[in-house]
Structure formats: structure tokens, C-alpha cells
Symmetry: C2
Subunit: 327 residues, 2 copies
């Protein structure tokens, strides 16, 4: 039995497995991206928390660490996007994941340069716009995902089939995927593959702070919540900062009051500096299924091995009740 | 290839397919429950919107319409629960789904009567309590489900594996399941089967108002939202009533103000009487995937046929990109 019945992503990116590592601020530097690509997935350098010179340095460093395909993630609302896009093209990058904004502005230029362009969406309507704009694929990211998120709150289980029937380009499922069983579930929904964020954030190669990683290991599924819906919705692990935001929101605080409480640099403070009480700790609901800090190679091995077990079970192999997944 | 590799639910309920119809107020009367059981699934009479005498009438009517197994759904916080439980036992019902409250109070009596008891949960912690209390299975219902919902907002894609690893009893996945692909996704996650609500609510045999059914057919995935989180969270289709609640919540309205706006009988007004502007229209995010009002037999046929196609694709059958699902 072939492991993958659908090989569109493998062909699109030139990778072995249809597993993309999410571009996550303060977590996905050169070391993580290279490790994922070396393990047969697609690593992405996340530009969202990097100054342009730091971004260039990380892109170059990935080249030193792997000969396999990798890409970059550029949030389009980020102030240095144009400069980072120029740097990436000049450095020979030809796989671009874009998010947070309209892909229309950049897709023409990237396609002219021969690049593969994938945009992250949270609704089927935006997936259709991406296809019309010329994107090669879409990442469909559900409500359960960590970090910034859509206002419509559509979950991965609903969003993926909605997008699969709305567009012809490959759909990459994201949000809530940290185990082989969740990977197979995404494939069942019609996704060509998955983008895995939180599980790769909590690895040895991720650049997140050790205290942040341990906080995620200790967390349960109900410990993350989507807050700041009147600003840009973001899923955060519970801490003193998030509790104050929740209280402010419950009493109908204005956008200005919330912005004042939020301040600046909270994501850096939480995930990079390890301030567990006052920083933003961006992680998905799968935090509850994350119980250790393994290497990327180990995460990839578990994803693939567990997916094989699940595929075999679905094919009528055992009739056994499944064991609880490790991830 | 056997259709189902896991047959725990078939054994538990004596049914052909591991597909349970959700007990939904104002929708799941005798006609719907009997149609689902006749199609090889497990039909449930939902007591939540019935006076005890009406409930007895519906239970008796199912017996006239099918010789196959069926059950009842009893919300434990409902004022007539004790009386309905007595009626169901007296009428020979031996399959009980309970929700909204602690199963501890009733499970002993039901087990003593030789009944199968299944409780609906939204967290792995409650799933564990159900197993300890003696429940035979749990329905794990995610954030995307219609109607009343958990405060933790855990989605089906995360909740099901969380519960599968927390308990040994069978886990029935609910929330976001209206297509064969979603059914297979649930099985991949380790569920023994699924509970389908919204898709069965929008059938010819459901007792919901025709205008309510048409409103769901017209809706997209982003048109439902979870509101009234400070009371009992409930997922509703957008209308004038829900818009007012959303505005009140955004300005930090008190519980009393919200309760006053909610008033009484909104669910009846919306789903039974068809007041699309001022009633509560309880439906899941899968509303976006529901495009017609077929018979229950047709829904079951689609679920099973589409699941077969997906299982065959996952087994390496085609390598084709999947077509968009009908449901």
C-alpha cells in the first residue's frame, strides 16, 4: 500500500511527505526549518518576527543546514514585508507562504519569478480569491490553530471540506494537527496535506524559549482561548496577561483600552523571553496533546508511523480499539 | 474490505452502522428517530422540548414506525427529566443518551434497569468522570456543533483524540459531521462512530419548521456563531435576534440584561414556528455544507457511499484529487 494516495504537495514542493511546518513568530528560524526539510517535510522560515537583516541571515543559514527544499512565510501586513520579499527572491527562495492580508498584491511578481505561492485562509470565500489570484495552493487554518486566527471561527473539520469543494488547487489543512491520526483525518477531509504549527514549535530545534515549551507541555486542551476578537483574534495559553484581557473584554472594554493593555512586544516577551505571566503565549488547542519536547526527526517519525497505523486500521486491518495517540 | 474496522457501537446498540442521530430540541421527534433507525443508524427521541405526555406519545409512535433499536436523549438539567426517565423505562427504552448535567445521578438506576447509558461531553475531564460513573460510551461534542456547547470551545478534531486517550469506553464524535469524509475523519481520530445532528435536522422527516430548514440550506459556514457564553453557550444562525445579543455582549451587558433580551421560548419560536428573525436557530457550522432537504434514507446513503469512496482513496485506490463532497 502506498503511504500517500494524493501526491500533489510532494510534486508542488519537491518534498517526500505532505507535511509543512507552519511559519510561527519567535519559533520558526533556520534551525527548525532546516530540521523539518531534512526530515522530508517542508520547512519554512517565518519572517513575521524578524528584521530584514535577521531574516536574510536565517535564510542563508538554512542553506548551510540542508540541501532539501524549504520556503518562507511572509505575513503581508507586517511592515517589512516588501523588503523581506526582495531578500527572499534575491536569495533564490522559490516557495512562498503568505498570510494576514491579500495575496493579490504579491502573487503576480512571485509567479513571474517562478515561485510557488501558497496563501493562508480561514474562509472558503478567501480560498476562492486566492485561486483566482493565481495561488498554487491554500492553507486552510481552522479555529483551533494557535496565534492569529479568523473572525468566522470555522473549525478545521468544517473549513477543509468547505474549501475542497470551493477550489481546484490543493488544500493544506492547518489547525489542530499534531498527531498521525489528525493527519489522516485531514487527508480524509480532502486535504492534500497538512501544515503543523504547535507540534513543531515544541521541539528541540524551535527557537522558542524553554519555559514557553514547558508551559505548553503542562497545558490541557481547554487552556487556550481565542481573545482580542475586536482587534486581531489570537489564540493564547492562559496566563495573568490573558486573564486581564478576558476580564476587560467581558466588561465591554473599548478597542483603545484593549490596545493599551496589550501594549507592544508581548509575543516576544512570552515566546522568546519566556515571561510566562505577562507575555503572549501563542499555541493551538493541540497543546493538550503535546507532552514532551522531542527532536523534529522524532515528531516526523511519530506522525508518519501513527498515520500508517491509522490508515491500516481504517483499511480493516485490525478491528481493534485504537490506543491513545502520542504526538 | 469490511466497511467498518471498529464495531463497538454496532455491538453496543445492535445497529448496522455506527451513526447516531443527535437528540435535538424541536427537530428529533418520532418520525426522525424511526427513519434513522430504519436506515440502519440509531435514532433518538429528544425529550428536551417535550412535555412528559408528548414525550410518551413520541416514544410509542417510534415503536409503530420501526422494529429496530432506538433510544432517547434526556438533558439532565431539564425540569421534566425525572418524569421522562420513568416514562422511558416504563415504555421499555434501554438506550439512554444524557446531556447537560452530571450523569452520576441517573446512571446507577439506568444500569440497574439493564440500559445502555451514553453521556455527552465537551472536555476529556468530563469523559473520564462518565467512565468512572459507569457510562457505556461518551459523545464528544466539539465547538462546531449546533445548539448548546461547552465553555472550553475545544473542537472535534482536538476533543476526540483527547477523549480517546483519556478513556477506554467508546468515543462517539459529534460536531462538524455531515459528510462521509467527516465521518471517516472521525474514525481516523479514534472515534467508534459519530453522532450527526444538523444534517439529520435538515431532512424531510425532521419536525423542524420548513422555513428553518430553508434558512440552513441558504447559510454558509461563517453564518453560525457561539453566543450567550455568560449564560449557557449556544451556536445560532445569524438573525436579528442574534445580532442584538452580539451587540449586547460586545458592550459588556450583564447576565440579567442578556437574560431579559433572551426571554423565553426563543428556540420554539425559531425552529418550531419558523420565526427566522426573532427565534433561536440552533445549527452547527456544517450548515455551510448542507444544501438541500433530502430524506433520512438519502442522507444515510450519501454518508455511507461517500465514506466508502474516502476509505478507498485513503487505501491508495486512486491518487486522484477528491471531488467536493455532497452531504
Amino acid at each position: 500500500m502506498p503511504r500517500w494516495s494524493d501526491t500533489r504537495l510532494q510534486q508542488l514542493f519537491g518534498v517526500e511527505h505532505p507535511i509543512v511546518q507552519g511559519g510561527m513568530i519567535w519559533n520558526s528560524g533556520a534551525k527548525l526549518a532546516a530540521a523539518v526539510s531534512n526530515a522530508g517535510g517542508l520547512g519554512l522560515v517565518g519572517a513575521g518576527s524578524m528584521r530584514p537583516d535577521v531574516f536574510r541571515e536565517h535564510v542563508r543559514k538554512v542553506r548551510d543546514l540542508t540541501t532539501r527544499p524549504f520556503g518562507v512565510n511572509l505575513p503581508l501586513l507586517y511592515p517589512h514585508t516588501a523588503e523581506c520579499l526582495d531578500i527572499a527572491l534575491a536569495e533564490g527562495i522559490r516557495i512562498f507562504f503568505t498570510s494576514a492580508g491579500s495575496p493579490k498584491k504579491v502573487v503576480g511578481r512571485l509567479k513571474d519569478a517562478g515561485a510557488v505561492v501558497v496563501h493562508v485562509v480561514a474562509t472558503p470565500e478567501l480560498a476562492v480569491k486566492c485561486e483566482q489570484a493565481g495561488c498554487d495552493a491554500v492553507v486552510c487554518e481552522g479555529f483551533e490553530a494557535g496565534g492569529h486566527n479568523g473572525r468566522e471561527e470555522i473549525t478545521t473539520l468544517v473549513l477543509v471540506p468547505e474549501c475542497v469543494r470551493a477550489v481546484s488547487i490543493p488544500v493544506i489543512a492547518a489547525g489542530g494537527i499534531a498527531t498521525g491520526a489528525q493527519l489522516v483525518a485531514a487527508l480524509a477531509l480532502g486535504a492534500a496535506g497538512v501544515q503543523v504549527g504547535s507540534r513543531f514549535a515544541i521541539t528541540q530545534e524551535s527557537s522558542g524559549h524553554a519555559a514557553f515549551k514547558q508551559a505548553v507541555v503542562a497545558a490541557g486542551a481547554g487552556d487556550t482561548h481565542l481573545v482580542l476578537k475586536s482587534q486581531v483574534p489570537v489564540r493564547l495559553l492562559r496566563n495573568a496577561f490573558r486573564d486581564r484581557i478576558t476580564l476587560l473584554e467581558a466588561r465591554g472594554a473599548t478597542r483603545d483600552e484593549l490596545a493599551a493593555e496589550l501594549g507592544h512586544g508581548r509575543a516576544r516577551q512570552g515566546m522568546h523571553e519566556g515571561d510566562l505571566a505577562e507575555g503572549e503565549l501563542e499555541i493551538g488547542q493541540v497543546a493538550g496533546l503535546i507532552d514532551d519536547v522531542p527532536t523534529v526527526a522524532e515528531v516526523m517519525r511519530r506522525l508518519l508511523d501513527d498515520a500508517d497505523v491509522v490508515l491500516s486500521r481504517l483499511a480493516g486491518g485490525t478491528g481493534q480499539a485504537p490506543a491513545g495517540p502520542a504526538c
